[in-house]
């Protein structure tokens, strides 16, 4: 494994105290995580352990209080197109159609492309995520699942180095969630992207990840354990249900979360 493609290096986050008094809130402390190129790593932990904050720090949307994030040997401090985020609340532009939302990203990623080239690329991703027929609708007219398909297409279509998924399936109904998870795996295997995802869904984490990072509770949350998922790919949901390795991992992670 080529270690250190994306390096989270001793990162701590402390929010300043309210009204300038006290020590502030130390959300997590000294988190170090190396993610290899093409690897799918998921962080799992209780609400408030700062996993979304860590994801935002990697994205450059928030700043670390101590430590830093290094991508391909370069420190990242600002947002950039090499790290695309898929948001829990989708964050689509509500005044644009699904197509235009994706096109905004593709145009930003490929400023030299002609309009026709951009449109063809967008259409390819529209088809890939199963949005065909809905591309001229605005987000408000789409279901949660369809909106996140737009979110995923927007992120993948720009071919970023790293994809940051912030609980991307949390607001999607359970049946649709499985379908879109499978689509995510398909896109991921087609593009060999490096993925960092945060979730609190244990099954989702095991189904999708190469490794799972377990966080303790906040305040002063820490990265307690990195669990390797040695299940062969492609993984099929139906096969996993009674797979002994899956059940063992599931029990291990649930135990950690319940006791931690």
């Amino acid at each position: 494994m080529t270690a250190g493609y994306l390096l989270v290096d001793h990162v701590s986050k402390t929010f300043p105290p309210a009204e300038g008094r006290g020590d502030g809130l130390n959300v997590f402390e000294d988190v170090t995580l190396e993610i290899a190129r093409g690897e799918f790593v998921t962080m799992i932990g209780h609400s408030g352990c700062g996993k979304s904050t860590l994801l935002n720090i990697i994205a450059g949307l928030e700043h670390a209080s101590r430590g830093g994030v290094v991508l391909e040997g370069r420190e990242v401090t600002r947002p950039g197109m090499d790290r695309m985020v898929v948001f829990q609340n989708f964050s689509l532009m509500p005044w644009m159609t699904a197509f235009d939302n994706i096109r905004l990203a593709v145009r930003a990623a490929h400023p030299a492309w002609s309009r026709a080239e951009v449109a063809a690329h967008v259409q390819r991703w529209v088809d890939m995520v199963g949005l065909a027929g809905a591309e001229s609708k605005r987000p408000a007219a789409l279901s949660g699942g369809m909106r996140q398909r737009v979110g995923l297409a927007r992120a993948f279509s720009t071919e970023p180095k790293v994809l940051l998924l912030d609980e991307p399936f949390a607001q999607i109904d359970a049946l649709t969630r499985g379908v879109i998870q499978d689509e995510l795996v398909r896109m991921w295997s087609a593009t060999h992207n490096t993925v960092f995802m945060v979730t609190h869904d244990v099954d989702e984490a095991i189904l999708l990840s190469d490794r799972i990072a377990l966080m303790t509770r906040s305040p002063r949350a820490q990265l307690a354990e990195l669990v390797e998922v040695k299940l062969a790919r492609p993984r099929r949901r139906a096969d996993l249900i009674d797979d002994p390795e899956f059940l063992r991992l599931r029990a291990q992670i649930l135990k950690f979360l319940l006791e931690g």
Binding site: P79, S91, M93, W95, A109, R138
Partner: protein, 260 residues
């Protein structure tokens, strides 16, 4: 729905007929010098004026169409200038909370000043009454658009700006694809209030400067004691005001979006 609309129309016509009837009854039989003219007399004048709206018999005798056209022309210039200034400055203030708070006291002091109060200063400095009237329109339509734009831009959801940040959109592109469309409903609401205040102000300004315009027309007809013309002009001002507002109402519906 259809039934309701029919009833609304019926009641409207009924109320109008009653008002006109009361008006006619109140003035009927009285000699011309003792009361205002009745609706029948006004209707006769209206028919004559609308038959030849664009005649031009020298400075003191022009058709109502020409007079309204002169007012609308002034409005178009002043309102456009004001809107460009207000939207640009509003975007700037909306994006910078510090600047907003620094400038806000000045806006609050300037806002309640009747635009006509500036007239002497404008007349003194530019020494051209037509241009002074245009500046009065600028002053009357500046503040609502400015305040609404600043508010609209300041309340753009963080999510949309984060996406723009991640896509590293250039400044012009960020403005055109994210900031302006996101704030468009608020901006248009401001533009709609502004066009109303401008139309209110132009009548008074034209009474002062004379020459052409519907305001001057009203004052001139008063000097001629042609009250039927005055009343017809008042109605014409109202109708044009409704049309201006309806135009921006359509724009507002077109730019509205539903948060998803």
């Amino acid at each position: 729905m259809r039934r309701d609309r029919l009833r609304v129309l019926l009641y409207s016509l009924l109320i109008g007929a009653v008002l006109l009837g009361l008006w006619q009854a109140a003035v009927a039989g009285k000699p011309p010098g003792k009361s205002i003219p009745g609706p029948l007399a006004v209707g006769k004048t209206a028919a004559e004026m609308l038959a030849h709206p664009f005649y031009d018999h020298g400075p003191n005798d022009k058709g109502i169409g020409l007079q309204l056209g002169a007012s609308l022309g002034r409005m178009a210039i002043g309102y456009t200038i004001a809107s460009v200034i207000a939207v640009s400055l509003g975007v700037l203030l909306g994006l910078s909370p510090v600047l907003y708070r620094a400038v806000n006291p000045y806006i609050q002091v300037l806002k309640p000043i009747s635009p006509l109060a500036w007239m002497p200063l404008f007349l003194y400095t530019i020494r051209d009454s037509a241009q002074a009237a245009v500046l009065v329109i600028v002053m009357s339509s500046l503040w609502p658009t400015l305040a609404n734009t600043a508010f609209g831009v300041a309340s753009i959801k963080r999510d949309y700006l984060n996406v723009a940040e991640i896509l590293q959109l250039s400044w012009p592109r960020r403005l055109v694809t994210v900031i302006l469309p996101a704030a468009a409903p608020a901006i248009v609401a401001g533009l709609r209030i502004s066009i109303g205040s401008a139309w209110v102000a132009i009548v008074a300004a034209e009474m002062l400067i004379g020459g052409t315009g519907i305001g001057y027309f009203v004052w001139n007809e008063w000097n001629n004691l042609a009250l039927t013309s005055v009343i017809f002009a008042i109605l014409a001002i109202g109708v044009i005001g409704v049309l201006l507002d309806a135009g921006l109402g359509r724009l507002s519906r077109k730019l509205a979006y539903q948060e998803s």
